[in-house]
Symmetry: C2
Subunit: 103 residues, 2 copies
Amino acid sequence: MNPDYSRSIPQVWRRMSRVFTALGDEHRQRILLTFDRGERLNVGQIVAVSTLSRPAVSHHLKILREAEVLCSEKIGKEVFFWINKPFLTETFGNVRDYLDQNL
Amino acid sequence: MNPDYSRSIPQVWRRMSRVFTALGDEHRQRILLTFDRGERLNVGQIVAVSTLSRPAVSHHLKILREAEVLCSEKIGKEVFFWINKPFLTETFGNVRDYLDQNL
DNA sequence: CATATACATCGAAAAGATTAGACATTTAAT
DNA sequence: ATTAAATGTCTAATCTTTTCGATGTATATG
């Protein structure tokens, strides 16, 4: 048993924590799955297929961006989002490796 | 763009959703990381290293069990928990494969 | 059978997350 | 300089999750 309740969360888990939280919400999962391969979507497009208001979508996009699940770039008046696929692939791989090696 | 906002969550994601939610909470992450390799812990042991009350720990264990992150078995008066490592390894692998193939 | 142990559940309070309207900001076009 | 378009932020209401004391249930033990 690892009793070190205060310092026990390793780095790979800390970074993953926000990913778990970000993807634990069904609206945010739907946003993620709205993207086709390599596609970039602006906020208006995401709002258009969502059932939520624009502020709500904006809120969820912020959480996804802060978790590094999505990247964003402002071009003119628009803000484009896309999936941070390298990060997600690496992170899920890391978690699986951590499981294999430590748990 | 995938505009099918209502039916778009694939099976692998539906099952994963509860895992994300379960692991999105820091208390539940700490519980998971309390286990050593292949170890089985009873509720009392988990409560002992936690900063939470027994009902709170019980609540989190229920969520982890329902997400299939942990397995449990009652033996006598005690309930033992252990990490469902095969499921976690498989599920994180599935998610990574899904990312590679679809996003 | 009475008591103790280990755990789960109930219920209410507290904390936190989500939501949408109103407002603010940035950028482009006239 | 005005106006319009795209997006972000603020705020308050609502909803959900978390929390713990109290109570309930199952199992073992004297």
